[in-house]
Amino acid sequence: MRGFWRAFRRNRLALIGGIVVVVLVLLAVLAPGIAPWDPNRPDVRKILDGPSKLHPLGTDQIGRDVLSRMLYGARVSLAVGFVSVGIATLIGIILGALAGYHGGTIDAMVMRLVDLMLVFPRLFLLLAVLAFIRPSIWTIMAVIGLTGWMSVARLVRAEFLSLKEREFVLWSQSIGASSYRTIWRHILPNAIGPVLVAMTLGIPAAILTESGLSFLGLGVQPPHATWGNILNEGKDAIEIGWWLSAYPGLAILVTVLSYNLLGEGIRDALDPRLRQSIGRIVSRAR
């Protein structure tokens, strides 16, 4: 652990990414306390006002404060990011562990399921699902999680394939430990590093997907403020209110960038040899 911290600290970009992530989480948690205005209170005298002292990031079509809406939007983005990646990771770990540990038919079935899920362009699948169920913050979290577990499953399977031949696993099996115990107590803890990296890199992907859906008007529904929703409204005002589109997008960019830097930093610090397999983990969410 100390070796990890030492290696991580030396990576200045990853450190900056980590700090920005912490600041973003704090801003999201403290949003009700620090937002200068009520995010949902319209003000007809201030429709599409540019950035000013009173409204640092301007106001929208019905005079709501953009900065306050963005602070509340951060809560949605981060919550969706964390929960959907949690769901995806859980599914990925279970399926990947079963496939890697048992091999044979189970492995073949899980891997075919992964292949199958990967032939669906994610946005098309998400849109099809959202045509049937009412989009809310919970359904968005669920569908993003359910369509995003494949990379984790592949990763965990690969780890299990190499770990299950190691002596401590054979030893555990030879003294009669159940496969359940061997998987959870002995193999999984050794595979947790790459999973952690995949999670850190999965959060920004989920945030991009959520804001994309909200931008299309099929994500978290208004009047809930989310970065994607503000951008959706900004789309209709590009000729007068550039600030309505510029700032929320910038927030998404900075958030995603920071998580990516942090994730890459954790990976390099955990094991420099993992550097090569990065391409497999980073996948753009579309």
Partner: protein, 331 residues
């Protein structure tokens, strides 16, 4: 080679069946009847009427396996049903109209990405840690993090609204019909500039990164040392010996990234009002036009499958090791 191709084709069949299975699952995913819930308020029909029609086409009151079988046999005959929208045209016809423009955009994007990413990747790998390499690394990280819909809005504000250089919506100007032949082509191209720019941005970042990574791995190999040792000029060592080997994994990555690229059409086509499959999908979701949604989903997934197959076969064509390994049953 023929045997390998045949085997890949046979392996694609269960995936094709799987595509119909997952799509069928989507219809039944919603708690209760799939027609009870709605998206937005823009529906043109009453719930009861919609439910009635859905029950009719999907036979929702029949047992599941009967429903699935009916649906799949109709798909096999390329019968995707009729659109729920007032025109009630066949779904296949609606999609057929929009497929060419989506394919055209995606192929052009792919060509641009590949032609730019390969030299960028090679240059940053051979000049690792140079200023060029550092600039591209920054570009890669920013490219990964930029939401395409935001980039589209920013470019629209800059080039469309502020500077007024480029059109920001549709494929043709309203005055298109009155233009001469060449101005017409010019007008069409001008409409494509921003959408293609937006769609290539993220992909370009990803591919330059893969190319750099792949090149870095190859130049460490012994055969590159040998090529240098026998006195070949660096141009030949990099441009021929290294490049050929570094390109191999890129073919696979290309195949894997296709779903992402096609999925990106949804956003790009919606923003720039391009009448392609992505825009059709979004419209269908808002109008609850279920036959169009399901048809779109099945066709897009099948297209991706075919594209993956082509990438696979290309890979085995350029790298004989794959075919041999497959024959030995290691794949």
């Amino acid at each position: 080679m023929f045997g390998y191709a045949l085997r890949r084709l046979i392996l694609a069949i269960p995936l094709l069946i799987g595509i119909t299975f997952i799509s069928f699952l989507v219809i039944h995913l919603a708690p209760g009847e799939p027609v009870e819930t709605t998206v937005g308020e823009s529906s043109t029909q009453s719930d009861a009427k919609l439910r009635e029609r859905l029950r009719e086409i999907y036979g929702l009151d029949k047992p599941l396996h009967v429903q699935y079988w009916n649906w799949v046999t109709r798909l096999a005959r390329l019968d995707f049903g009729r659109s729920f929208s007032p025109d009630a045209r066949p779904v296949l016809q609606k999609i057929g109209e929009r497929l060419p423009i989506t394919l055209l955009l995606n192929i052009v994007e792919l060509l641009i990405i590949v032609t730019l990413a390969i030299p960028i990747g090679v240059l940053s790998a051979t000049r690792q840690y140079s200023t060029f390499d550092k600039i591209t690394t920054v570009f890669v990280f920013v490219g990964f993090a930029t939401p395409d819909f935001w980039l589209a809005l920013m470019l629209m504000i800059l080039f469309g609204v502020q500077l007024g250089w480029l059109p920001i919506s549709g494929l043709r100007s309203p005055t298109w019909e009155y233009l001469a032949f060449w101005p017409q082509q010019w007008d069409f191209l001008a409409h494509l500039v921003l959408p293609i720019l937006v769609a290539t941005f993220g992909g370009l970042a990803g591919f330059s990164r893969y190319m750099r990574q792949s090149m870095l791995e190859v130049v460490r190999q012994d055969y590159i040392q040998s090529a240098r040792a026998k006195g070949l000029p660096e141009r030949v060592v990099i441009g021929k010996h290294a490049l050929r080997n570094a390109l191999l994994p890129i073919v696979t990555v290309l195949g894997l990234s296709l779903p992402g690229l096609i999925g990106g059409s949804v956003i790009v086509e919606s923003i720039f009002a391009i009448p392609g499959m992505g825009q059709l999908m979004v419209q269908a979701v808002f109008e609850r036009d279920y036959p169009v949604i399901m048809g779109n989903l099945v066709i897009v997934a099948t297209l991706t499958l075919v594209a993956n197959l082509i990438a696979d076969l290309t890979y085995s064509l350029v790298d004989p090791r794959i075919r041999v390994a497959a024959r030995r049953g290691r794949r």
